[in-house]
């Protein structure tokens, strides 16, 4: 239990580090914040007006004071106001997040459903032709960037079948589940392919390691049939690295799949950050990055919890 408690204790610390890193990074952006915020319209302001604005946003105060102010607001759930949207940052984020979450979950489901059985199959047929085919497939899958895979899907669909993936207005899940799924299935496949390749590779090598363990030999010596050895004795041990890899990938996906959202014109978190960076909406960048890092850390914590559930040694060692 101790590891978990330590992790929990470190949680606010790392979050504080993340927030200050984001804060400092934003202040390091060249040019003054008002110009950055208003873009071309800044030229229309007189220096006095600029100063007034700076005072209004608290930008004339020293960094430490600004940081303190920002942190205090943060504790109250106030991430500031987005200039481009004219809405509170948190509201904008929460509007975009369901899509990102759904996409991430869908991709992970695809990855695990394909990856774990494929990895186990490859490991139990190691060095045979089926293993070779799976390994080559996984290797190519892992070497294909999501934007290449996405483009290929779009190209094949449009050139081969004359269909274009449903882009345009996004339908929320609860409004029309079928239409929603229709919009998300291709991006989820795009993301899930590389993810599945990673899961296959790690599941295969973990399974191979576990199959050479002494306790697997013991199980065989007791007359446990091959299938029982694989699924009941080996797999629970081999899942531990699979959980690690899946957790990391899932955490990254929760940060928004910038490129795939861009490619399929999906209004998710990732594209929002990209737009915010390009449009210099710094309150939004700051808030979203913090939100994403927070999610990532929560996922890591869940991964740790899964370890404890999977491995009694961790439970005891703490």
């Amino acid at each position: 239990m101790n590891t978990l408690i330590r992790r929990l204790a470190a949680f606010p610390l790392v979050l504080l580090g993340v927030s200050s890193l984001v804060f400092v990074a934003i202040r390091l952006v060249p040019g003054d914040a008002i110009t950055a915020m208003l873009g071309t319209q800044a030229g229309l302001l007189t220096p006095a007006q600029k100063a007034a604005l700076a005072a209004y946003f608290g930008l004339d105060r020293p960094w430490i004071a600004q940081y303190w102010h920002w942190l205090r607001a943060l504790l109250h759930g106030d991430l500031g106001i987005s200039v481009t949207y004219g809405k509170p940052v948190l509201e904008v984020i929460l509007q975009r997040f369901p899509l990102t979450l759904e996409l991430a979950l869908l991709s992970m489901a695809i990855a695990l459903v394909i990856g774990v059985p494929a990895g186990v199959y490859a490991a139990t047929h190691a060095e045979r032709r089926s293993d070779l085919v799976l390994r080559i497939g996984a290797m190519i899958g892992q070497s294909t960037p999501s934007f290449v895979f996405g483009l290929v899907i779009i190209y094949v669909l449009s050139a081969g079948f004359g269909v274009l993936p449903a882009m345009g207005t996004f339908t929320p899940l609860l409004k029309d589940p079928l239409a929603n799924l229709g919009q998300l299935i291709l991006p989820a496949l795009t993301l899930g392919a590389a993810f599945a390749a990673a899961v296959t590779r790690i599941a295969r090598s973990a399974m191979l390691d576990v199959l050479s363990e002494d306790y697997v030999r013991t199980a065989r010596s007791r007359g446990v049939p091959a299938r029982g050895v694989i699924w009941r004795h080996a797999l629970p041990n081999a899942l531990i690295p699979v959980v690690t890899v899946s957790g990391i990938e899932f955490g990254y996906l929760l940060g928004g799949a910038v490129i795939v959202e861009q490619l399929f014109a999906l209004p998710g978190l990732g594209r929002m950050v990209l737009d915010a960076i390009l449009q210099r909406d710094y309150a939004l960048v700051q808030g979203t990055v913090l939100f994403i890092a927070f999610n990532f850390m929560v996922v890591n914590l869940l991964v740790d919890l899964t370890y404890v559930w999977l491995d009694p040694r961790i439970r005891a060692r703490g």
Binding site: G17, P145, I230, V289
Partner: protein
């Protein structure tokens, strides 16, 4: 060199090493300007031409030769990948050794800092660096190095910590060997193998990230040729001129595949854990 020999005896090592060598050759030619055409020269008459004897891989919307642009693009991608991995590996290794050697305080500080960096999705952190520094070649190098450095720190720290408790380090202490000697000869020398594997995999990942950043418009800026930009530009022309998409797509995939295969083979060769179990 026995390593090279072993590499060429390993099936995926042979393919990986060949791919990487071919890319290095193309990159070098791209860099010294040994391309069939000027990659930047526009030609209004020869716009969107399919592959032909004159233009091996066709031309783009501005009549520029795709093959030449591909070569300089590969040169650019490889330069960024190698530089960024060199920076990430050297800084990460030093930090990892420091964390492992001093444990307690420095380990805590360094590893929590790495946790902070690792709490960002990679591409997001890279985007943030680009936002601060403005897009460009050197920014890409720094961004990718910054993102990958904590991974090297972890890769070095883990084995260094366990090596530190090995008997040969105990033996060195009983002789009174200096810290410098122990860290370089007993720790670092024994981490070279996993480090080599990690460097190869990092190169694959750096190629991917560089292409991704360029694809989003945050990496190499047009008109300079870059695989990501070429791919991004091909999107609206994909049905009219599919070669504009296919060529850079294959180029990116091939490079990443080459390094991944090489990394896998190196792992097999340098970490000879016999895997004989069958189910």
């Amino acid at each position: 060199m026995s390593l090279l020999k072993a590499l060429f005896r390993h099936p995926s090592g042979r393919i990986g090493a060949t791919i990487v060598l071919v890319y290095l050759l193309l990159a070098a030619m791209g860099w010294i300007g040994l391309t069939p055409h000027d990659p930047l020269a526009q030609n209004r008459i020869a716009r969107l031409q399919p592959p032909s004897a004159r233009y091996w891989l066709g031309t783009d919307l501005f009549g520029r030769d795709v093959a030449s642009r591909l070569m300089t693009g590969i040169g650019q991608s490889f330069l960024i990948a190698f530089l960024s991995v060199a920076v990430a590996a050297s800084v990460g290794t030093v930090l990892g050794l420091v964390a492992a050697w001093f444990e307690r305080f420095w380990d805590g500080i360094l590893m929590r800092s790495m946790d902070i960096l690792l709490a960002f999705p990679a591409i997001l952190l890279a985007m943030l660096v680009v936002a601060v520094l403005g897009p460009g070649t050197w920014t890409s190098v720094l961004a990718i190095a910054f993102v990958y450095m904590p991974i090297f720190t972890r890769v070095v720290r883990g084995p260094a910590l366990s090596l530190k408790n090995r008997e040969f380090v105990d033996a060195a202490r009983t002789f009174g060997s200096s810290t410098g000697y122990i860290v370089t000869r007993h720790l670092l020398l024994n981490i070279v193998a996993p480090l080599t594997v990690q460097v190869t995999l990092a190169l694959a990942w750096a190629l991917l990230t560089e292409a991704g950043l360029s694809f989003l418009g945050l990496g190499t800026q047009p008109p300079a040729a870059s695989l990501g930009v070429m791919l991004s530009d091909s999107r609206n022309l994909m049905e009219m001129a599919p070669w504009l998409m296919i060529c850079p797509a294959i180029a990116i995939m091939g490079g990443i595949l080459g390094f991944n295969l090489l990394g896998d083979a190196l792992r097999d060769i340098l970490d000879p854990k016999t895997r004989v179990a069958r189910a």
